[in-house]
Symmetry: C2
Subunit: 219 residues, 2 copies
């Protein structure tokens, strides 16, 4: 379980906060606007009204202990950049920041953002692609309880066959593709005798609960 | 090649317009703000400054002949809803509308939007999921030339088995999942005797070129 602070509860930030909470994570939700704070308060671990550019306010919340920080402030580019800088200076190892233009994005990278997201731009690209493919539907959304994930293979897998790993019986997970990093080959519906090698990634299918349990176990 | 009108050139709308143009589609980009229009003009088929809630302005642009309409107006919910209604009344068969809250989304569905998108909400969910999976990589990106797509099944498939359809030999496409709309069941690595039924969707894997060829064929 990760400790995640989400700053900026607009449509994007509140969606991150609420979805993380649904996924069982510890979420501290922050916004300068009390109304936004109240809207999520019942569904997250903690919700606090502060100005996130105030380093003392951040310190008093114990922000330095968090695993992940999300800066989802939008229009106020200056506050977004300053908050990102503060989170890195307070020692949060992984900080995701939203950018509303590429210039801001480059600044964020320079000051230490581990990942920069352009939510509207990326969704626009996805929609464009889905309109052009004749029967394309919205990514890989299976029946409500299932999803497909791609995962790197842990060291404990290497040198073992899929039969030995027995993921279906032990974890309820079905391996549908093995990608060989070393050769770039792709094995679809790999046989039970397939040996997992270092660098391989697997695409797996499973129920959300099973995948969550698997993810918590391998953390 | 489709004729697509994109109304509202904010970050989301302009991304759709520019990506569609890159994908070789005919794009008419519209915004009430001349500055936004100028920004995309060189990269799309046509870019025009009008108020999209003005039905006469829309008519004069020959909007009724378009295949797809995208309404990417954001804050002005009323303009977004009115524009969506006008596009349907002018006879555009497929209209995608952005919504900034679920109430607006329900209204859009009632007035005929074929698809409602919540870009910030959906990206938030995706980011949340990517942060929680221990080894999660950004969706299903296979070796450069491959991808996984979900597709609806055309009428010509219904009542046939996968063996009869022979997609792998005919199109180079591997079916990895069949989703039964009627029961909600999911069949992973379906056998050759699996019969495709109306409403089924398939998740397929293939080389980009093969999938593009398939998509062009079924258009
Ligand atoms: N200094 C700050 N400290 C904390 N929160 C802030 C600060 N500045 C702005 N915010 C909050 O960030 C949130 C998101 O910012 P804003 O609404 O500008 O972004 P947006 O891009 O329009 O959002 P979205 O598209 O996600 O709805 C707002 O709720 C706002 O109150
Ligand atoms: N009546 C209208 N006719 C045409 N364009 C309009 C109309 N009303 C608003 N727009 C345009 O729609 C665009 C997007 O709207 P807005 O900026 O409110 O949305 P947004 O959700 O903040 O955008 P994004 O998140 O995509 O950047 C703006 O460029 C605006 O000028």
């Amino acid at each position: 379980k990760k400790q995640i602070v989400v700053i900026g509860l607009g449509r994007f930030g509140s969606s991150i906060a609420l979805n993380l909470a649904k996924l069982g994570q510890e979420v501290l939700a922050i916004d300068i606007d009390e109304v936004k704070v109240k809207e999520v308060a019942a569904q997250v671990t903690h919700a606090v009204q502060i100005d996130a550019t105030d380093i003392n306010a951040l310190k008093s919340l114990g922000i330095s202990n968090f695993d992940i920080g999300i800066v989802a402030i939008g229009e106020d580019v200056q506050a977004n950049i300053l908050t990102t800088l503060l989170l890195k200076e307070l020692g949060i190892p992984y900080v995701v920041a939203k950018a509303i233009n590429t210039l801001q994005g480059r600044v964020l990278v320079k000051i230490g953002a581990n990942r920069v997201v352009y939510p509207e731009k990326e969704m626009g690209k996805k929609i464009a692609h889905s309109l052009v493919s004749s029967n394309f539907m919205d990514y890989i959304e299976l029946a409500k309880d299932y999803r497909i994930e791609e995962m790197t293979t842990p060291a404990s897998f290497h040198g073992k066959t899929l039969r030995e790993l027995n993921l279906r019986n032990r974890w309820g997970i079905t391996v549908i593709v093995v990608k060989r990093e070393q050769t770039g080959d792709i094995e679809v519906s790999p046989g039970a005798e397939t040996t997992v090698l270092p660098g391989d990634t697997m695409i797996v299918l499973g129920k959300n609960d099973d995948l969550n349990r698997w993810n918590n176990h391998t953390r």
